[in-house]
C-alpha cells in the first residue's frame, strides 16, 4: 500500500506533466513552433537565403560573322504596299494614353 505522502507525490508529478503539456500546446497554437534556446545565427542564415538570388540566365556572347564572305547582290524580296499606318498609330496612341 502507498502512503498518503507517496500518493501526493504521484498526483503532483501527474499535475506537473499535464501543466507542461497544456503549456506546450498553448505555445504551439500561438507561435507555430517552440524555440527554447533561440539560435540567432541560424535565423540570419535563413533570412539571407530568401533575400539574395543569383542571375542564372544565359550569357549572350558576341556572335562574330567575320570571315563570312557574301556572294550575292541582293538578299530577300522587297515589295511596296500602299498602306498608311498613320490612322492606326493615332488611334492606338489615344487608347494607350
Amino acid at each position: 500500500m502507498l502512503s498518503t505522502a507517496d500518493i501526493m507525490i504521484i498526483i503532483l508529478v501527474i499535475m506537473n506533466i499535464i501543466s507542461f503539456g497544456i503549456g506546450y500546446l498553448f505555445a504551439k497554437l500561438n507561435f507555430g513552433y517552440i524555440n527554447i534556446i533561440p539560435n540567432k545565427e541560424h535565423q540570419v542564415v535563413q533570412q539571407v537565403k530568401h533575400n539574395i538570388s543569383i542571375d542564372d540566365t544565359k550569357f549572350v556572347t558576341k556572335i562574330s560573322t567575320d570571315g563570312m564572305e557574301k556572294k550575292y547582290n541582293c538578299l530577300g524580296e522587297t515589295t511596296v504596299i500602299a498602306e498608311d499606318i498613320n490612322s492606326s498609330v493615332n488611334k492606338l496612341k489615344n487608347l494607350k494614353k
Partner: protein, 335 residues
C-alpha cells in the same frame, strides 16, 4: 514619319517593315540555310562555280552556306532537308552554327540604322503552354536578337508576336479581340482589350509539325513536304489524290483541333481575362494559315471545342504574311 522599323523574326520568314512615302516597304527573307563542305580545293572551285547566281556565303573554313529559297532547292536536289537558324520560334543556345547564320541574315536584312538609336521593334514568342523545355528560352532569344540589332545601331525592343498582329488587324474593333499568329514553329495567341494585351501564350505545334508528321507518314524529307504543301492545291477537310497533300490536309485538321482546344482550355477561367461586353473579333495570320479552308476550319473547331468567349467573326488578316511585321512597325511609332 521617322526611320523606326518593325521586324518579324520568324522561324520560316524574316520580314522587315519600313515606312516609305506613306506606304510600307516590306523585305521578306526565307529563313533557311544549307551548308556544303567541300573536301578538296578542286571540289571547292567546282562547287563555287556550280553555285553561280545563287544566294550564298563563303565561310572562313571554305564551306558554302546557301541561304533562303536556294537553300531549300539545293536541299531537295540532294534529297536532304534545309536547316533553320531558329527552332520552334527561338534561337537555341546550343546551335552555334545557326546563331552565326541568323546574325548574318539579320544584319543583312535590317542594314545599318539611318541614325544611331533608331527604334526597331521585333517580335518574340510567348511562353508555350504545351511544353516544359529548358532549351526553350524566350529571354535568351530576345537577348541574342537584341545584341545583333544593337550592333547595327538600333535601339531594339521586343513585343509579343500575337500582340503585333493585334495592332495590325484589330483597328476596326478598337483594338479589342484576339490575334492568332500561325507561324512555322509556333502558334501565338494574344487577347487584347483596348490596345492592352491581357493574355498571351503560345503552343509549339504549327506548320513545321505538319511537315514532320507528313514526312514520317509518306517517307519524304521535310523540305519536299514543305515545298509540296506551299505549291500544291488542296482544301483542308477535303480528300486529295496526291498522297502528300492528302496527309497534309489530315494533319492540318488535327493541328487546328489541337490549337483551338488549347485556346479554350487556357482561356477558360483565366485570372487575367477581362469581362468583354461585346462578341470578339478573331484575326488570324501567318504562313501556316495560308492553306485554303484554314480560317473556316478554325472557326468551326472553336465552336466545337467550347470556346469560352462569344465570337463575332473569325477573319484572315489583310496581308497574312506581313501582318506581324506591320504590327511591329505600328508599335515602333508608339512604344
Amino acid at each position: 514619319m521617322n526611320n523606326n522599323v518593325g521586324l518579324d523574326v520568324g522561324t520560316s520568314f524574316i520580314v522587315l517593315a519600313k515606312n516609305k512615302d506613306n506606304n510600307i516597304l516590306y523585305t521578306d527573307f526565307r529563313d533557311a540555310f544549307y551548308i556544303i563542305k567541300p573536301t578538296t580545293p578542286v571540289a571547292t572551285k567546282m562547287i563555287e562555280k556550280g553555285l553561280s547566281g545563287k544566294v550564298f556565303i563563303k565561310d572562313s573554313d571554305n564551306s558554302f552556306i546557301l541561304l533562303g529559297k536556294d537553300a531549300i532547292e539545293k536541299a531537295i536536289e540532294r534529297n536532304d532537308s534545309a536547316k533553320r537558324p531558329m527552332f520552334k520560334g527561338v534561337v537555341s543556345a546550343k546551335e552555334k552554327e545557326a546563331k552565326k547564320v541568323l546574325a548574318f541574315i539579320l544584319k543583312e536584312v535590317v542594314g545599318t540604322a539611318s541614325s544611331p538609336g533608331d527604334k526597331l521593334i521585333f517580335c518574340k514568342p510567348a511562353q508555350p503552354v504545351d511544353i516544359e523545355d529548358n532549351d526553350f528560352d524566350v529571354g535568351y532569344h530576345e537577348d541574342v536578337v537584341k545584341s545583333i540589332l544593337a550592333e547595327q545601331g538600333y535601339d531594339a525592343r521586343a513585343i509579343n508576336e500575337a500582340e503585333a498582329l493585334c495592332y495590325a488587324g484589330l483597328e476596326d474593333s478598337d483594338y479589342t479581340g484576339i490575334g492568332v499568329s500561325c507561324g512555322a514553329g509556333m502558334t501565338n495567341v494574344c487577347v487584347m482589350l483596348n490596345g492592352e494585351p491581357t493574355v498571351t501564350f503560345s503552343t509549339t505545334k504549327s506548320g513545321d509539325w505538319i511537315d514532320r508528321m507528313v514526312s514520317v507518314a509518306v517517307g519524304e524529307p521535310d523540305s519536299v513536304v514543305q515545298a509540296e504543301k506551299e505549291q500544291g492545291s488542296y482544301i483542308i477537310g477535303n480528300h486529295n489524290d496526291n498522297p502528300i497533300l492528302d496527309a497534309v490536309c489530315s494533319y492540318y485538321e488535327r493541328l487546328i483541333d489541337y490549337t483551338t482546344k488549347y485556346l479554350s482550355v487556357t482561356l477558360k477561367n483565366h485570372k487575367s481575362l477581362p469581362k468583354f461586353k461585346q462578341p470578339l473579333k478573331v484575326v488570324i495570320a501567318g504562313g501556316t494559315s495560308l492553306a485554303k479552308g484554314y480560317v473556316e476550319t478554325f472557326h468551326e473547331k472553336l465552336k466545337s471545342n467550347n470556346f469560352p468567349l462569344p465570337i463575332k467573326e473569325v477573319v484572315h488578316a489583310d496581308d497574312p504574311l506581313h501582318a506581324v511585321a506591320k504590327g511591329c512597325l505600328i508599335a515602333s511609332q508608339i512604344l
